[in-house]
């Protein structure tokens, strides 16, 4: 693409001949060597690098950290909620069978309830595991079945 004559009148106004003295003077300025001491040069470079690195850090840190922090908080909340629900579920499932409150459902719980029934002691209503309104040998059997079950469980 070649550049022909400029037909734009506005541009034509900008194309002017500078006086020779001015042109020579300006060219002479460029030829004059400017001495900058090395220490000053290095100091300027160092401070420029520091400024640029600050600007870079400021630019990248927050946009990455805010979502990461939010994600971490969300994950922690989910884990805490899961643990809380697990605890509630296991309490609801086993606590009534854990008659001796040792944290395990085993034959000793059935034995404890059988002893209470045998001694005609007042048996607390939570021991009515089958929900028939009576605490009796059938509730003892339920605890025993749970204690010897091979299907896991056992912990209160």
């Amino acid at each position: 693409m070649t550049r022909g004559k400029n037909n734009d009148p506005e541009r034509e106004n900008l194309d002017f001949e500078a006086p020779d003295r001015l042109v020579r003077g300006l060219q002479g300025l460029q030829n004059k060597p400017v001495f900058v001491p090395r220490t000053i040069d290095e100091a300027i470079l160092r401070s420029a690098r520091q400024e640029f690195s600050k600007a870079t850090r400021k630019k990248w840190r927050w946009p990455i950290l805010i979502p990461s922090f939010g994600l971490a908080v969300a994950i922690l909340l989910m884990i805490a909620l899961w643990h809380y629900n697990q605890g509630r579920a296991s309490k609801g499932q086993f606590a009534r069978e854990d008659v001796n409150h040792d944290g395990q459902v085993d034959i000793l719980d059935a034995f404890a309830l059988a002893r209470q029934l045998n001694e005609k002691a007042s048996v607390p209503s939570p021991a009515d595991l089958n929900g028939d309104g009576v605490v009796d040998d059938r509730d003892v059997e339920l605890i025993t079945a749970h204690a010897v079950s091979l299907g896991g469980g056992g912990k209160s």
Partner: protein
């Protein structure tokens, strides 16, 4: 009529042989394993043990009670333990302390069906044992195997 009788006899014989040698042609035998618990000088009122065949060559076919009157009745176990290699066996007695066993006593007998010539590796672990008040006591479990067939 004769051929029908022959077919029936052949099928019956095959069935008997299949039962003797197992379904995959391996020899099959039965044995009984006695479970003993030793609570030393403390009268034992309740126990719970876990019994297992660890090398997979035997399956439980029955569980019965022990020798002492306190544990003579069949103990509690999950019906799933039958035809399985593992069982949790438990029992308790409401008899007074002077009627409960002390020292070494047979609390249960497990019947096994063993397939193949490999000897079964057996394991028993006491999960819990207690005195008349339900307090946990120390009991040591041992096994004694005897061939029955």
């Amino acid at each position: 009529m004769k051929s029908l009788l022959f077919v029936i006899l052949t099928l019956f014989t095959d069935l008997l042989l299949a039962q003797e040698s197992g379904l995959n042609g391996q020899p099959m035998r039965f044995c009984a394993v006695d479970i003993y618990l030793d609570s030393a000088t403390v009268p034992m009122a309740a126990y719970q043990v876990e019994f297992s065949v660890t090398n997979g060559v035997g399956k439980i076919v029955g569980i019965e009670g022990g020798e002492h009157q306190a544990f003579r009745a069949a103990p509690h176990y999950d019906p799933k333990a039958i035809q399985n290699e593992r069982a949790i066996i438990a029992a308790f007695s409401l008899l007074p302390a002077n009627a409960l066993p002390t020292g070494r006593t047979r609390v249960a007998t497990v019947h096994l069906m063993i397939t193949g010539n490999t000897e079964p590796q057996l394991e028993v672990r006491v999960q819990v044992a207690a005195d008349t008040q339900g307090n946990k006591i120390t009991a040591v479990a041992t096994l004694e195997k005897k061939e029955t067939k």
